[in-house]
Every structure is written in C-alpha cells, then in structure tokens.
C-alpha cells in the first residue's frame, strides 16, 4: 500500500546534493522573431480561420487596453490593467480549447475572454460597473466573469482559483465530461500556498486541468529573482508529478501547440499539466502603478521588440493570409468599436440599491431585510447625498 519501494530506488554511497541545475527544462519555440517557422518545428493544429480569429483578438485587446488605460488617466474609470506583451499567452492557449472548457483566470487574461466572445459592450458594462454588468457592479474593473462563456468570475485574492480549478476538474472527471479546466496565474501568485495545494492535489487525483503560468518577470515591483530561487515555475510541475512544459510565451504557435497537446493529455488521459509561458509585462502592473520606480527602460525595450502581436503578424503575412493594409483597417475598426462601446457603457445607470443586498445568500435573511429597509428610509431622507441610488426612488 505505501511507497515502500523508495529506499530501494537508485542507491549511492556518497552524498551528492542535487540543485536547480539537476533538471533542465527547455523552452518550446516554433515561430522565429521574423515570422518564419523553425525548420524542424512541429506545428500546432491551425488553419487560416483560427489564425485570423486569434490575431483579431490580439488587435481587439490592444485597442481595448490602450483605450481603457487612457480612460483611466482621464478619470473616466477608476482602475485598469493591461495585458500588453502577453497576448499570445492567454489568447494562444484559450484558442487550443473547446468553448465549454472552463477558464479560471487571474485578472490579466481579458484576451481569453474576448476570444470566447465576450462583447465590447459586456467589457464596458463591467468596466463601468453599470447595471448591465453581469457582476452587478460589485467588483473593480477587469473582474470579468460569464457563466455562459465558461469564464469563472475573477477574484482579487491571488491563487485562490488554483485549488478551485483542481476541484472543478475533479467534478468534470467524476461526471465523465470530455472537458478540462485551464487555470491562469502569474509567477508571483505561484508563491501562494494555494498553488502548492492545487498542483499537488491535481497530481494525486489525476484530473483534467491545465495550470498555465504567465511568468512575466514581475509581481508588481518584485522581480522574479526575488520571487523564487529555482529555475522558474516549471520544475515544480515535475516535482508534483504533473506533465510539464515551458514555452516561449510570446510565440503564439508554441503556446497553441503546447496547449493543444496539454488538452489531449488532460482530457484523454486525465494527466494534469503545467505550462510555464515565459513572457514579459510590458506595461505597468496596473493603472495605479509606475514601473519606472523599479525597472529601467532598456529592459522594457528588449522585450518590446519581442512583441507577440508583431511576430504573429509577420507569420500571417508570410502565409499570405494578411497584409499591412488589412492590419491598419482592422486596428482602426477595433479602436472605433471600443470607443463606441465605451460611450454606450458609460451612460448606463449604476445598479439599483437592491443589488447591494441580493446574492449575499440565495435570498435575504432577516438582518438584510431590516438593513435594506432602514437604508431605503435613510436615503429618502437624504437623496442628495446618495445620488447613485436615490434618483430611482423618485420614479417608483
């Protein structure tokens, strides 16, 4: 029953200490910077339609991120986070999945959601916390979620979604569903205890989950060398008995390929997988952050030229599937879409007072009924002081 064989494993009679150099995990790269494939590369399953859908999502996300960051600076929204530089990681991996595979994101994976079909209006409703927001205006901007699109609502506490992904995947397996869960997280979040629990349990239960680490070099101001001492996140997968691969996170074809293979392992063999995508957060951590306080421009520039979007575009052009003119048109089009949606979303009313109290439980217990009644009475007394909610009382 127990693991009694271990002391009969390879025996040595002199002490040899292993360390991080004892295990080398190479990085998968398929696409060169110039858009050419490596000659001996094994291609992912991709046709023109899929390629253009991915690329379209790239450009939409760039347009969204740029415009929303600007809106934040203008004071139109309180907070925003861009995924600039990391688009290949989340979008390329989600493109490898079935639409009803579950996505559990950290917060910098709006691209995955856009790929799934979240509309510009839906983005805006969330960002502007208006009454059409699926999340009812309760969470800060970028905490998206959609039951229909199998995208679990984002939660700010880091890494909590990782053991949840293991649990969700356990349920899929128990119910013999032909699906998997993909769970995104940063290399910073991977320091949380929940990471450890999640990967270890996934290994034990052999559940269909893909842990996808975006190793983008920073957790806010903390560089990855102050986050961990080993060779990144991937070796941990080996330690937990997971199938593990490291990819160039700026190479969309490598990400797609690795995730397609990972999905097979997860769904067909119930082998949980860890993918570590090496990438770089080109922008600030969030609209509240200023990276000039902790890193230099030269470093950023090194990565700016490794842009995943440009790399893919070069490949698309070489394939004859795309040209610069189309590129300009599409960019323009997405910018317009975003602006239009923003103007619309911005005008929608905030959620009603009821939504302050609903969904704490499936129904309101007595204490919330009382608190709600008291609050309504109070707001009626001071309508000027609670303008987001009081205007509705007049219309009753």
């Amino acid at each position: 029953m127990s693991d009694i064989h271990k002391t009969d494993a390879p025996i040595v009679h002199r002490p040899i200490f292993a360390d991080s150099t004892s295990l080398t995990l190479p990085t998968l790269r398929i696409l060169q910077e110039d858009g050419h494939l490596y000659p001996d590369a094994e291609l992912p399953d991709i046709d023109q339609t899929l390629a253009l859908k991915i690329y379209d999502t790239f450009l939409f996300i760039r347009a969204l991120d740029e415009r929303m960051l600007a809106s934040q600076r203008q004071g139109r929204i309180s907070f925003y986070m861009t995924e600039t530089g990391e688009e290949a990681a989340d979008i390329g991996s989600t493109a490898a999945l079935k639409d009803n595979d579950m996505i559990m994101a950290q917060y910098r994976e709006q691209g995955a959601l856009a790929f799934r079909g979240f509309t510009p209006d839906q983005f805006m409703n969330q960002i502007f916390s208006n009454e059409k927001d699926l999340g009812k205006g309760r969470q800060m901007p970028i905490h998206y979620g959609s039951h229909k699109l199998h995208y679990m609502t984002v939660s700010s506490p880091l890494a909590t979604q990782l053991p949840q992904a293991t649990g969700y995947a356990y349920a899929l397996k128990a119910q013999s569903k032909p699906n998997c869960v993909i769970c995104y997280f940063g290399e910073g979040a991977a320091s949380e205890g929940d990471f450890h629990a999640a990967l270890n349990m996934a290994g034990v239960y052999k559940v269909p989950v893909i842990f996808f680490c975006r190793n983008n070099g920073y957790a806010i101001s903390t560089p990855s060398k102050e986050q961990f001492a080993g060779d990144g996140i991937a070796p941990r997968g080996v330690a937990y008995g997971l199938k593990t691969i490291r990819v160039d996170g700026n190479d969309v074809l490598a990400v797609l390929k690795a995730t397609q293979e990972a999905r097979k392992l997860a769904v067909e063999q119930h082998q949980p997988v860890l993918i570590e995508a090496m990438t770089y957060r080109l922008g600030a951590h969030s609209s509240s952050d200023d990276p000039s306080g902790y890193r230099n421009k030269e470093e950023e520039d090194v990565w700016r030229i490794k842009c995943p979007v440009t790399r893919m575009k070069r490949w698309l052009i070489l394939q004859g599937w795309w040209d610069e003119e189309q590129d300009e048109t599409l960019k323009q089009q997405h910018r317009q879409t975003v602006v239009d949606a923003m103007k619309k979303g911005e005008k929608v009313s905030p959620p009603a007072l009821d939504d302050l109290f609903t969904d704490v439980y499936d129904s309101l217990p007595w204490n919330l009924e009382e608190q709600k009644a008291a609050l309504e009475e109070h707001i009626r007394r001071y309508p000027e002081s609670y303008k987001k909610s009081s205007w509705r009382f007049g219309h009753e």
Binding site: G145, T153, G167, D194, A197, N200, Y361
Partner: protein, 325 residues
C-alpha cells in the same frame, strides 16, 4: 427510529445525502477507506465508491479550495476539516472565497453546494489545538451559514438541511458528544430548519441560550435553578448565522432576563452579538444585564480545562446573580 450516537447520526445523514444525490462527494483528511479519525465517514467509501468518498492530501486550504471548485461546478461538496482548530489555513478560501462567490459574480456562479463539517470544542483533553470553538469568527462573514447541533436527532436533520441548503454552510460538530450523546433518531430522510432556534424547555424567570455541547450545561443549570424555584427557559440556538433573533427576543420579552453560554473565549464570542442585538430589541423588557457565561480569554488549556469551561455551576451562579440583580 433507531438508537444512535451523534457520530452514527452524522454518518447516517451523510449516507442518505450521498444516496439521494449521486452528485454529492465527501472528502477530507483520512475520511476515505479509514472513515475519518472519529469514524464519521465510516463505510461511505465502501458504499459509494472511491470517487465519491476519498482522502485528501494534508492541506486544509487545498481542501476548501478544491471544495469551492467542485461546488462552483454544481457538485454537492461535503468537506471535512479534521479538527476545527485546523480550519484556519482554510480561512481565506472560506471567508474571501466561499462567502463572496455568489455576490462578487452577480450570481453568475455560486458555491451553494458546499458544506464544511468539523468537530469542535473541549472535553477530550485536547489542549490548545484539539478543543477550540471558532464559530464566532465565521459569524462575522456575510454569505456563510453556521450551524451547530446538540444531539443525534438534531444533528441528522440539521446536517441534511445544511447539505441541501443553497448556500455554503459550516457545520460544527460537538466532538465531546460524538459517542456520549445517544438518542432516538428517525430512520427516514428529514430536515430541520436552518436559522431557527429550538425552545428546549419553557420557563418564565430567565432565558438561557446556548448551542452544541453547552446546551447540556444550561439544562443542568436550569435543573439546579428549578430546585430553588427559578423557572428557566432553555433555548438551543442551532443556527448562528443567520440566527433566530425573533425567538430569542420573544423569550426575553417574556422572562426579562438573558444568559448566553458558549465555550469560546468571551471577548468577541458570538454571545457578544446576541447581547448587543437583544439589548437593542428588548431594552425596555430587560430586568437585569444580559450575562455571558463563556470560556476564558485565554487559549484553551489542558490540565485546567474544567476551570476554563463555562459549566453548569458557573451558569447556575450567574442565573442566581441575574435574578438577584
């Protein structure tokens, strides 16, 4: 009806829940083949299979994270934490995740299928880390329900209701009573309502309120008081969140006096909330201050456990003091 102890009643409830709901899973440290260190999940793996009743690795935060994931998918997740003292590593997954899952997603997702069972309280020479009563921590967390049964019949009905309630529920089991509390338990599937207190004994001079194992202590004290001609109304609160303020308030309006008894330390124990709410609701009816007979503001001790506990004698003295106020 069958004679059962508290453990058997819980085991029976779990068995029924898993039989009727094939989507119900039961897991935790050592709960699988072994049936749990207290044997509450005894034979469940044998009956329902290894996929449905199983061991977890030794990680409470993992257990609850995993459970939240299961529940968010629509699965009925029944997680065991081996001792309530070890629930704290899972605190974040409970108060930041389970409790806020529905709210933060605008009801796109919820973990209503989650139930957390855990043995709590003193009485087994457990010292600091096998005796705690951490229920009050969770009562400060909107989104959770908190339930504590006092005997086998209550345990079965309340556990079945907790498992089926569409909200995450913490179910605290008084481990001191696991084997010692024995009683007749209906064989069939039944539920007792969450959020409703139970008037165990009617009385007119003072209301005594407790939950779980401490209901015994207030009953004993009520017996002692009865000999002095003091008539005590004894209430088992059963649900702590949401709690049944109306039943307690009605009783206090009748008796004019309230004594709350709990094992946990006094400061910020759940007795504080009850006292605060009842002095507000029943201000003009109170004939003496609401009194709390509780554990001490110390960690749970070992040798001096008897001294620490809010037993029937301390309760009895407090009853007399309240009447003499």
């Amino acid at each position: 009806m069958s004679k059962m102890n508290l453990l058997q009643a819980i085991n029976n409830a779990l068995d029924i829940a898993m039989t009727k709901d094939t989507n119900a899973l039961c897991f935790g440290e050592d709960v699988g083949h072994f049936g749990g260190v207290f044997r509450a999940t005894s034979k469940l793996q044998e009956k329902h299979g290894k996929t449905r009743c199983f061991n977890t690795p030794l990680t409470e935060q993992g257990i609850l994270g995993f459970a939240n994931g299961l529940a968010s998918q629509g699965t009925t997740a029944i997680a065991e934490i081996q001792f309530a003292d070890y629930i704290f590593p899972a605190f974040d997954q409970i108060v930041n995740e389970a409790a806020k899952f529905r709210y933060r997603s605008g009801n796109e997702f919820n973990v209503g299928g989650l139930t957390i069972r855990t043995p709590y309280g003193g009485g087994i020479n457990g010292g600091l880390y096998h005796s705690q009563s951490p229920e009050a921590y969770f009562t400060h967390t909107p989104g959770l329900k908190v339930v504590v049964p006092r005997n086998p019949e209550q345990a079965k009905g309340l556990l079945l209701a907790s498992i089926r309630d569409p909200n995450p529920v913490l179910f605290f089991e008084p481990k001191k009573l696991y084997r010692s509390s024995v009683g007749e338990v209906p064989d069939e599937d039944y539920e007792l309502p969450l959020g409703k207190a139970d008037i165990v004994r009617e009385g007119s001079d003072i209301t005594l309120l407790a939950w779980g194992a401490q209901v015994e202590a207030i009953e004993l004290a009520a017996d002692m008081a009865a000999k002095e001609g003091i008539s005590c109304e004894v209430i088992d609160l059963r649900s702590l969140l949401p709690w049944d303020r109306d039943t307690v308030a009605q009783s206090v309006m009748k008796t004019g006096r309230l004594l709350i008894n709990h094992e946990a330390p006094k400061t910020s124990g759940f007795g504080a909330e009850i006292a605060a709410a009842i002095q507000e609701t029943c201000f003009l009816y109170l004939e003496s201050p609401i009194v709390r007979v509780t554990g001490l503001d110390t960690p749970f001790p070992l040798v001096l456990e008897k001294e620490y506990m809010p037993d029937h004698l301390k309760t009895y003295e407090a009853i007399k003091a309240s009447l003499a106020f």
